[in-house]
Point group: C2
Chain length 554, copies 2
């Protein structure tokens, strides 16, 4: 009887109902294994916030149960929050060589020493607490991405990580069909699979397609070639560099993250670049234009990135020249469309020819399309299916896809972050909920910017600010100094002197009125000032600045 009561739980802490900050907890008895701990970028309304990480209160509350973290690959949305978690609990981290190297660079940047990093490779099998964990090679837009099979006494769970199926990968390492098929044959209890591209029919093209496109572009380019891409996509970077070498171009690398990642990848042997092929950005001018390849950050139009600076003639060392060919080998991440479009416009204005998303083959996705997702499900043949990594509509569509393949609807769970999904060998149930959500990181502060601060920032951003300062006599309540009015972000002061004078007059009237009525309660005085001014200013401008009355007493 006890045997059938046994259960294993999944507690998604991020990545469900959203793109980013992926984090999944697997719990068996008093043991928790965490898969990934990523960050995401702030929504537009999260003013001033730098990054967003999962609220991992649940993990901290159960810290004695945590056996380790598996980092499936080195993208920010899978390892970006790990430095924060490791600051709080120093648990072992398991990941591939490149993954750990990228993580280590982050830890160093944040001054975190003594992390317990354990390097693993595909087909490794580890015992972590009661879990037997198998690492499985998949294709993705970063090298060293691994899915995991977690064998528990209740059954086997497969977490597919982010993946695509590439039949002609740049490094020759095809997706490990055998491993998934073998697991499926033996029996898998739960499959968690990547929903990012579930809306795309067909197959995602091979990374090699980009190489072919690059070859065409380089062959036709008369001047310099500048390529912007994600630094972590080392296969892409390898193809760009190889094409540059083929066409006899020297390679200059610009942008901090590109330099960092290329250096790490070269050291580890993920990138093969002859030393004499590289030149300093400052030396580019001494080579003929048709002998130059510049590899740059800025594929997302980030304002401070190398390509964006070059596009607006604001880069320290390099500028765009008429006749340059620029390739943006990436798709804009949702929300970045306008930034990227602006950069492209500026590049055209500087006289460059630009290849971007509108041209087929300049970029391919790292995520599986519908036919690959079907293949994953049919290889693994899980009893239960949990779509992960996607906005809610994507999870729903992934669930429907699984249903079409014959998985019964009651065995498919479209879950939310924080829900507890319990599985016995026979049955899956959503049994409850743990604390979950988003922690906002602003500068050194983690979680100290909350709704009140954001609400204030929003009002300040939209309408600006008006400060009213007055010094009153402690004895008589008479005005000793002021009222002074200071505004910021409200109106252009020089052109609005009259308006601000009238506002001051309004404040004087309120103070007189209060004095006459012997009102000395500051809250009442401040409230009256706020009310009268707000009405006055709205009538004159249709704007509602934040009004801050300050009273001093002498």
């Amino acid at each position: 009887m006890a045997e059938t009561e046994e259960k294993v739980s999944l507690i998604p802490l991020g990545g469900l109902g959203e793109i980013g900050k992926n984090m999944m907890a697997v719990k068996y008895q008093n043991n928790i294994l965490i898969i990934d701990c990523g960050l995401t970028f702030p929504e537009e309304e999260m003013l001033g916030v730098d990054i967003v990480i999962p609220d991992y209160t649940y993990v901290l509350e159960n810290r004695q149960m945590v056996r380790g973290v598996i980092a499936t690959h080195g993208h920010e949305d899978h390892i970006g929050a790990l430095p924060y978690l490791l600051k709080d609990i120093n648990v072992p981290v398991y990941g591939g060589r490149l993954t750990l190297a990228l993580l280590q660079a982050k830890l160093k940047e944040q001054g975190i020493n003594g992390a317990k990093l354990h390097q693993v490779k595909p087909r490794d099998v580890l015992k972590i607490g009661p879990f037997r964990v198998e690492f499985i090679h998949v294709n993705h837009s970063i090298a060293d991405t691994m899915a995991v099979a977690i064998h528990t006494p209740v059954g086997t769970l497969v977490h597919a990580s982010d993946f695509k199926i590439d039949h002609t990968p740049v490094d020759g390492e095809v997706f490990d069909f055998y491993k998934f098929a073998q697991l499926g044959e033996k029996g898998v209890l739960v499959l968690m699979s990547d929903s990012t591209n579930v809306e795309r029919p067909g197959y995602t093209p091979s990374e090699r397609v980009v190489g072919e496109t690059l070859d065409k572009v380089f062959r036709q380019a008369k001047g310099r070639v500048i390529v912007a891409s994600f630094a972590t996509n080392v296969h892409r970077i390898q193809q760009i560099i190889a094409t540059g070498l083929k066409y006899n171009r020297k390679i200059a690398i610009v942008g901090r993250s590109m330099l960092n990642v290329v250096n790490i990848a070269m050291e580890l042997g993920y990138l093969d670049v002859p030393k004499d092929a590289l030149v300093e950005p400052g030396m580019v001018a001494s080579f003929p234009k048709e002998r130059v390849l510049i590899l740059a950050t800025g594929s997302q139009g980030e304002p401070m990135s190398a390509l964006t600076r070059m596009a607006r003639s604001d880069h320290r060392q390099l500028e765009i020249q008429p006749g340059d060919t620029v390739v943006i080998s990436a798709l804009p991440i949702p929300g970045n469309e306008k930034l990227v479009a602006k950069t492209i416009d500026q590049l055209f204005k500087q006289g460059a020819d630009v290849y971007h998303e509108a041209m087929e083959g300049v970029h391919v996705s790292g995520h599986a399309s519908q036919e690959e997702l079907k293949l994953m499900i049919n290889l693994v043949k899980p009893k239960f299916f949990v779509p992960i990594h996607g906005e809610y509509r994507m999870l729903i569509k992934h669930a429907r896809l699984a249903e079409e393949l014959g998985i019964p609807a009651e065995n498919i769970f479209v879950a939310e972050n924080g829900q507890i999904l319990e599985f016995t060998p026979e049955k899956g149930t959503i049994t409850g909920r743990v604390t979950s959500g988003a922690l906002l990181v602003d500068g050194l502060g983690v979680g100290d910017v909350g709704n009140i601060v954001l609400r204030d920032r929003k009002q300040l951003a939209q309408e600006g600010l008006l400060i009213v300062v007055v010094t009153l006599s402690k004895e008589t309540g008479n005005i000793m100094a002021g009222p002074d009015i200071i505004s910021r972000g409200f109106v252009y002061v020089r052109e609005s002197e009259e308006l601000l004078e009238e506002a001051k007059e309004k404040v004087n009237q309120v103070l007189d009125w209060c004095l006459e009525r012997k009102i000395t309660d500051w809250a009442t005085i401040k409230g009256s000032i706020r009310e009268v001014l707000s009405k006055f200013l709205y009538g004159k401008t249709r704007r509602r600045p934040m009004i801050l009355p300050v009273i001093m007493e002498v």
Copy 2:
């Protein structure tokens, strides 16, 4: 000799190098004719700005020359700034019936009376000053769109407005091929043509395609159907309503702009809706679900629109029910992608089935694709070509398209807003530049929110604010009250009392230091406070709030 010196000028004041706020001035001798006067929506960094209109200083400076404005169609980016212009100069406006009705509604809203609106229809020919203006029917995503041919003594200019070529339009009114061909045969000096969709190969599908898709969706829908679309796309609205009627559904209209436009369009006969087909939104519950069609605003995920409110259960009268079918019959305008995705997610969570951009045929564009653009050029056979309505890269690509069709490169002008393009029968030249740009509208203020205000808003939005107030003795310079510290949007005050206490201590130190050195100059004292606090706070938080020291004297 004098004859050959004659010239006609184009002065684009908006819509070049951008999508939106289209405005073109045509000048011949002392006569200016304006084509369109539209608005655009603020960029992300234009915090708190409501809308953006063209800087039409040039028009005001030459007001005595202005003979009139042609409104080619009723979209915001073509007529949205007209109320502002007409407030400044009451010149005659020429446009189609629907165009003028939509404009009139705007004028009424802004309390503008006495506008001189002149209704025209396709093939009308008007004499406006020295210009002979012909109106030509084109297809677009709003009824009553007209291109114009402007005959001047120097030659004929064709302004194509926004257009597509629809061989099976909903109202049966096909694009006026003959008129364009006739103009081309007689000889056209300059063609200005719409670049919006120049990156799309092939042809834009007919509006009728959407009708076929809607039919499929309605046929399969078991519960209520809710369709969101642009209110001004009356052909789209007509198809939605017709499909609803075909499937025996009563129609409820929600959202202010949808109600307004549908009422105007019904009154003018652009929409054919049997009176008894409409029901009040409040009555929807009394009909069986499969008998209900709800036509709503919100296709762009606008936070206050009907669909968005329904999606987040915040609508006064209606809510989403499991089994509802929602169709978003529009594409997200660049910048709105995330808002739309959020709405879709919420709809799925409420149990609705959602058809959106991922599904083919749920929306078609109102702008010509490459093959249609080629057709326009080859019908009109202009001597000079000026691509309009598009970001810079689109203008460049449109220019290349024209070159491929045999127009010599030196006869193609990729221009910028504000440039003066002069044409004689033989030659085109960019001869100079007039004032142009963007006027930001915030509440009642037009142009009073400028760079300084926006810079302040940005700092306040990103980092928040810290106010330091202190009252000093006029005689001794001693502190009489304070220093008090008030912060907004910086840190959550309750959790940061210690930090703010330390900050106060820092201010006290600065003041003591100044007093000891007999520094009484306020600017110096304020500067020191700012410097010391800024350094202190950055060290503690890595944030740089705006610091506002206020000194009062008694």
